[in-house]
């Protein structure tokens, strides 16, 4: 589960601009990949196609051998429930408490409130923000807000976790911290793809780096085999995150 394959994926916008050209690549289930490239290289477009916020102009995206371009309006929400998404500007709802923000995906899935509460606390523990449930996002620091966004993305224990510039406006220490968090989710078997232009940082992570420029894959470097660790326990349950 969590396997993603792109076959000659091209995305051309209405204005004729081609943001992705004939991209063919594969992400194994449980793998972790950094997507890098200059501004405008097509990283965000790539991720948008994966959550089917948009569809390829040509080519196919297969997730667990299902062409997501062919998902019906009824199936699409169910597909999205298996994917966690983190953005640079975290998309938190300002008028809702931290708890309600993180609980959103669970409530949408119709989970009972008791289980929701348990999962939200587990997820907040993972990002070291347990105790802040009752606060509004605006009461938190930028780094904390970003971690709330991550907590929301992983609260459903998705098979696939996508992040677009998750460390965009954080200082280097915090960025490293966030990247480590993603590594931990990957360690329990989640397929993780993180788009980031912070080359220096991601080079130290020892993971696969897929380099896009002008909508094409210009290099694809495998990670250190030593860092590819087998699945352990569920980080949303217990893992402590080092600082």
């Amino acid at each position: 589960m969590g396997q993603i394959r792109l076959q000659r994926v091209t995305k051309r916008f209405e204005n004729g601009f081609e943001a992705l050209s004939e991209v063919t690549t594969e992400f194994e289930a449980g793998s972790m990949t950094f997507l890098t490239g200059h501004s405008g290289a097509g990283k965000s477009t790539f991720l948008k196609l994966l959550i089917r916020a948009d569809t390829p102009t040509r080519g196919q995206i297969l997730v667990n051998d299902v062409d997501i371009g062919g998902l019906s309006a009824a199936r699409l929400p169910l597909y999205r429930r298996h994917i966690g998404v983190v953005f640079q500007d975290h998309h938190l709802l300002a008028a809702r408490t931290v708890f309600d923000n993180v609980a959103m995906p669970l409530r949408v899935a119709g989970m009972r409130e008791r289980e929701v509460a348990r999962r939200v606390r587990a997820s907040l523990t993972t990002v070291e923000l347990l105790g802040k449930e009752g606060l509004l996002p605006s009461h938190l620091s930028t780094g904390e807000q970003q971690r709330i966004g991550i907590a929301r993305a992983v609260v459903t224990r998705p098979r696939i976790l996508l992040a677009d510039e998750p460390t965009g406006n954080l200082d280097p220490d915090l960025s490293r911290h966030i990247m480590d968090l993603f590594t931990r989710f990957n360690q329990v078997g989640t397929t993780v793809i993180v788009a980031s232009h912070e080359i220096d940082l991601i080079e130290t992570m020892g993971k696969r780096i897929l380099h896009l420029e002008g909508g094409r894959v210009v290099s694809d470097r495998a990670g250190d085999s030593s860092t590819e660790s087998p699945a352990q326990s569920d980080p949303t349950e217990s893992v402590e995150v080092g600082s």
Partner: protein, 272 residues
Amino acid sequence: MVGIALALPAGLWILQVNMDEMSAQWEGRPGLSVYFTLQADNASVAAVQGYLEDQQNIDRVELTTAKDALEEFKTYSGLGSALDLLGSNPLPASLQARFAQSIGPIEVELLINETQAFAGVAEVVVEKTWLERLNELSRVVSRLGAMLAVLFGLGAVLVTASSVRLAIEARLDELRVLKLVGATPGQVRRPFLYFGAIYGFGGGVVAAMLIAITILVIEPPLQGLLGSYQQTLDLAGFGPLFLTVLLLVGSGLGILGALMAVRQRVRDLEVV
């Protein structure tokens, strides 16, 4: 807005129901006047009088002979001496028949035709009282009401739709996140459909209040007006059933409006 939209057609409906009621229980009944030719003899007049008196639909028949008519005219016009100069009586005899309560328009038509067929009858005139005007008005009102109901119903839907559109714009961020985390279109729509239903229901309540106030305002003068005709006023139509229908229609229109607004907007909403 929705309240006013609903109040007008609903109010007109009540007005129409009451006009029908009023004409049904009308007692200042109209009648028929039969005018004879100047040449008509007493036998022809008596024949018609006999015919009318035999009719079940007619309560009472009064004869005004040519002589009576002339006397009456002299008395009321003050032109008595002038008429004396004419030598012969220029006024015809006539019969005034008064309809029974139960008479309907078809029977009236039949009576006119039959009466007209008698020898010596010059003209049969139905006294168009305001009963008939009321009936005609009632028909006009009911048509107007139907048209207004369609128009204002449409208006109510559009008004709700635009309110819901505003509500959607105010919550776009939330809708995006909902879609992103896998909410179904139904889940995204639901709160707005509730909103529309409540909005429409509220409109129904306002409409009911507007109508109630209107009734309160027009009832005393109307009572006075009708009182002089020995008519009792008992406004019909404004009952529990009417209220229920009004509120249901209001809510239904609200939901319809909300659906219109939310459908496309939610489908086309970009999640990121």
